[in-house]
Amino acid sequence: MSLFTRSLLRATTRQPFTPTTTRILPPTSFLARYLSDSTRAAIDNAVASSPVVLFMKGTPEFPQCGFSRASIQVLGLQGVDPQKFTAFNVLEDDELRQGIKEYSSWPTIPQLYVNKEFVGGCDILMSMHSSGELSELFEKAGVLAPSEESESTSSTSEAEKKDSTKTE
């Protein structure tokens, strides 16, 4: 079981199963600031838990930070399939909160992974959203919900992108 099972169950939009046992986390060592093997393995698991993974402050329903909130909104606008998405609340797990920064060599939260690949933080997400790169990335990754809504948003951003290349 991964170290972050608890936050996964709390934060994910799906309800995979009810845990029958509660795993007690080992006390966090304040001396070890480097990324331990167990933390790295746990984050490996977290990153691989869904095609789209967001490490955020708070939960998708109750984000605890404006940048995490904005990122969730963008994922929603893009039409990411909730079945293919998992959010991890770093505020629930200090080991994850510190570990993910080293793991990604990225000092801030939120952080987005698509198919285990680090995409970036909030600013990158926003600029990729407005340039159309994000919908391209999600489409290629096959993580969009099969609905009319997602199709229409991706086609508009495609059109916008064509527009912008024309003017260059």
């Binding site: 060599s105 990225w106 000092p107 970036g120 909030c122 600013d123 990158i124 600029s127 003017t167």
Partner: protein, 135 residues
């Protein structure tokens, strides 16, 4: 000379914006930007939970940087280079808590400005056409 230097150093120490000064110095020295704007948004976030007990008025920054140094680098690499530059300031207790970055090359900034202008012109033209039709 010594007196002047002392005066300068006390002036620096008394700056009301020590963090902004550090950011400006480091970015200017390393990236030699053609444009650098530092926005301090800390007041907007002073009441949120992680800021409890933090007395610094310089915790949330938004940087707009245009530099040749970003040429041929992905956005991720650009952001990473700035994070690396300000690593100590971001790690220290009560230091930089949030850092929004807009990193462009002069060429990209020009293209975006031209695109915006073209869009605005098209909109104005559309509107004037509409007006002409309604008259």
């Amino acid at each position: 000379m010594i007196r002047l230097r002392r005066l300068l150093s006390t002036m620096a120490a008394a700056s009301p914006t020590p963090m902004e000064d550090i950011i400006r110095r480091k970015i200017t020295e390393t990236l030699n930007p053609v444009y650098l704007e530092i926005y301090n948004d800390s007041h907007k976030h002073a009441h949120h939970a992680p800021m409890r007990g933090v007395t610094s008025k310089e915790t949330h920054f938004r940087l707009e940087i245009i530099s040749e140094a970003f040429e041929k680098k992905t956005q991720m690499a650009r952001h990473r280079s700035i994070y690396a530059l300000l690593k100590d300031e971001m790690n220290e207790e009560g230091g930089i808590h949030a850092l929004q970055l807009k990193t462009r090359t002069p060429k990209e900034a020009e293209e975006q400005a031209a695109y915006k202008l073209a869009k605005a012109e098209a909109k104005a033209e559309n509107e004037s056409r509409k007006e002409a039709r309604s008259h």
